[in-house]
Every structure is written in C-alpha cells, then in structure tokens.
Symmetry: C2
C-alpha cells in the first residue's frame, strides 16, 4: 500500500517530469499576470494577454485555470499564504516590553517585504477592494485569518494581556489595515520617500500603542 504514495500526484516534493513541467508553466502564468498587473486591475486582465506574456498558447491557459479570477485567487494564496508565520516569527524577537523596538522592527519588515516582493504587495492592496468578487473574498479571508493570529500574539504581550478577545481583534484589525496601507504607501513613495514613509508609520504605531496602554484605564 505504502508504495503507492511514492508516485501519487499531489505528494509534496518528488514528482514526475510531467507534473514538474506543469507546475513550471503554472508559475509562468502567475508571474506573467503579476507583471501585467502592475499597470492595471485584475478585472481588465485578459486571458490571451497573460498567455502571450507567459509564452504559451491561449488555449493552454485552461489546463491550469478556468478564469483569470481563479488565477487571481491563486495569486492571493501566493502573496499572503506564506505571510502568517513570517511576520510572527520576526515579531517574536524583541523584548516583549520594548514597544519602540517592536514598532521599528515591524515597519522594517513591511519595508523589506515591499522591497522584495513589490508586485505581490501591489496586487493585494489593489484587489482588496477590487472588482473581482472571489479575489476580494480570498484577500478578506486571508487578512481576517492574519488578524486572528495577530490577536493571539497581542494577548501574550504585557500591554494587552487579559483583554477580551473582541478587543484584541479590534486592535489587530487596526494593525493589519495599517500594515496594508503602509506597504501601499511604500510603493507609492518609491525609494526616495521610503525613510519619511517609515517614520510616519512608526509615529502612527506609537500613537496606537499609547491608546493600547491606556485602554483599560477608565
């Protein structure tokens, strides 16, 4: 029985030449789409346009996606799927009491992310409120999931320990929205405006942190 799993499709790693090539073409489609989406929205992205940029025949598109919308959902997964653990492990580094260090680190991570994957960041910011419903929903789901993880992490920090879950989610929502807005601001500002954009983001996080510290005062 167990020898079946060795050649079963969908098994992680170790796939045949056939599947590997299919994955490579699929990735080429996603890369091409992401490149084209720099100057337009997903709802205007044509199937032929993508295949042309990817270097394959238009009809081959259907072997991977039935829609450009379905391609968009795959791009959401690629853009936000690996983000959950990444930021959390990055944020677990500093001393839990040093909020200033945490703020600087957070903004730095957002800047790095935007610099290393600008197309993905732009795609998420753009299609979050975009015209393609399934993609909008996928991004909303991912960000909601991400906010829940942030809420978990916040519950372990001194400033917000013991908060009701509802309040933690409220705060996490502020942070997630602010993260997306900041990333988009980095894109809009370009390399020259990176420092001032980062400083603005840090000050805003500082103010939110103050509110957090006094949330249970009165």
């Amino acid at each position: 029985m167990s020898h079946i799993a060795e050649t079963a499709p969908g098994a992680t790693g170790a796939v045949g030449v056939r599947q590997a090539q299919k994955l490579r073409t699929r990735q080429a489609l996603m890369d091409a789409a992401l490149r084209l989406l720099e100057h337009q929205s997903l709802s205007s992205l044509g199937l032929r346009e993508v295949t042309r940029a990817a270097g394959i025949a238009p009809t081959a598109f259907y072997r991977h996606f039935k829609d450009t919308a379905e391609l968009g959902v795959a791009l959401v997964e690629e853009s936000l799927g690996g983000l959950h653990g990444a930021l959390r492990t990055g944020l677990s580094a500093p001393d839990p009491g040093d909020s200033e260090a945490r703020i600087a680190l957070t903004v730095g991570l957002i800047a790095d992310l935007t610099r290393s994957a600008p197309a993905h960041v732009r795609f998420v910011a753009r299609e979050r409120h975009g015209g393609v419903q399934p993609v909008r929903r996928a991004i909303g789901d991912q960000l909601r999931l991400f906010a829940e993880e942030v809420a978990d992490a916040l519950g372990a920090l001194p400033d917000s320990a013991g908060w009701p879950r509802e309040d933690l989610l409220m705060l996490a929502g502020i942070y997630v929205d602010h993260m997306v807005m900041t990333a988009s601001a980095f894109l809009a500002a370009g390399p020259d405006g990176e420092q001032s954009t980062a400083e603005l983001a840090r000050r805003q996080l500082r103010l939110v942190g103050l509110g957090r510290r006094h949330w249970l005062d009165g």
Copy 2:
C-alpha cells in the same frame, strides 16, 4: 461689459439650452459609469459600454471626455469634491470636550454617506489603489487635502491643541484612512452588519482617541 458675463459659458447657473443639454448628457455618462463600476474596476470599463448604458452613440463620448480615465477623474471630483465642507460642518456640532459624542457622530455620518451614495464610496475605495494612475493620483490629492483640513480642525480641539503640525497631519492620516476603510466595511457588511461594523469603528476611534490624549505625556 457686465452683460457679457450673462451669456458666458462656464458661469454658474443660467446657461443656454445648449449647455444644459450637454451637462445632462455628461451627467448621464458619469451616472452610467458609476453604475457599471459596481461590479468591475475602472481599468476594465469600456468606452462603448458606458455610452451604451447612457443611451448615446459611442462617438459622442469624445465630446465630453477623451478617455475613460478622464471620466474617472471627473467621478473623483464628484465623489470627494463636496465632502470637504460636509463632514467638517457636521463635526463642529458637538461639545469640543465630548469625544465620545464626536466619535458616534463621525461614524454615523460615514454610515449615512455610505447609505446615500454607495456607488461613489465604492468607487473611491476601489480606485484609490486601482490600476488607472491619473485617477489614483486624483484620489490621493483629494484625500491629502481632506487630511489637511482635518488636521486644522484637530488643532482646535482640546486633546490635540498645541501639537506640531507634523503630528496633526500624522493623526489626520489615521483618521482619513480609517474613514475610507470604515466606509468600505459598511459596503461589504451590507444592511444587516451595519450595527456591528459601526460598533467596531467606534471602538477603534476610542482607542486612537486615548493615544491622542496621551501623545504628549512622556
């Protein structure tokens, strides 16, 4: 000399039948576009599509706009142009010291605005990061202008009186972004989720208000 102004084009009110009809057609184009933009983005909005929905010939489009992008910029003006005074006069009502009342009023105004002009709100939220650069820029300019006015108003309130202008703009940025996000959240939630969305927005504004109150503490 003065009698010239009576028939001069561009004068407010009192225009000939000719100009009035042109304005009506122009408005029909904008209304049709706004209706079509409920389910797509501006970058996929076709010229023929708009004229068809407006009930005029495709070529007549060029009498009013050279692009759908130019039409989009006009929609930005229509959506955000009249907003500057509206919210400010609304916010000048409550006692300057009663921040809770101000918060409730603000969220209420956003809810009203979203209910009375959902298409405009959706358009702004969607195209703020959309694929059409001139429109993106127009929205950015309008929101920046709006943020400056908010900063002015904040400078007159007790909690943030005497702040440096830079900090006032930082805070105003939080408020403006939060306003757009909240309006978009109202749209996504629909009528049933209006109350919980409003409650979430109010709690977030309460936390930001706390941060504001303690900004100059340390």
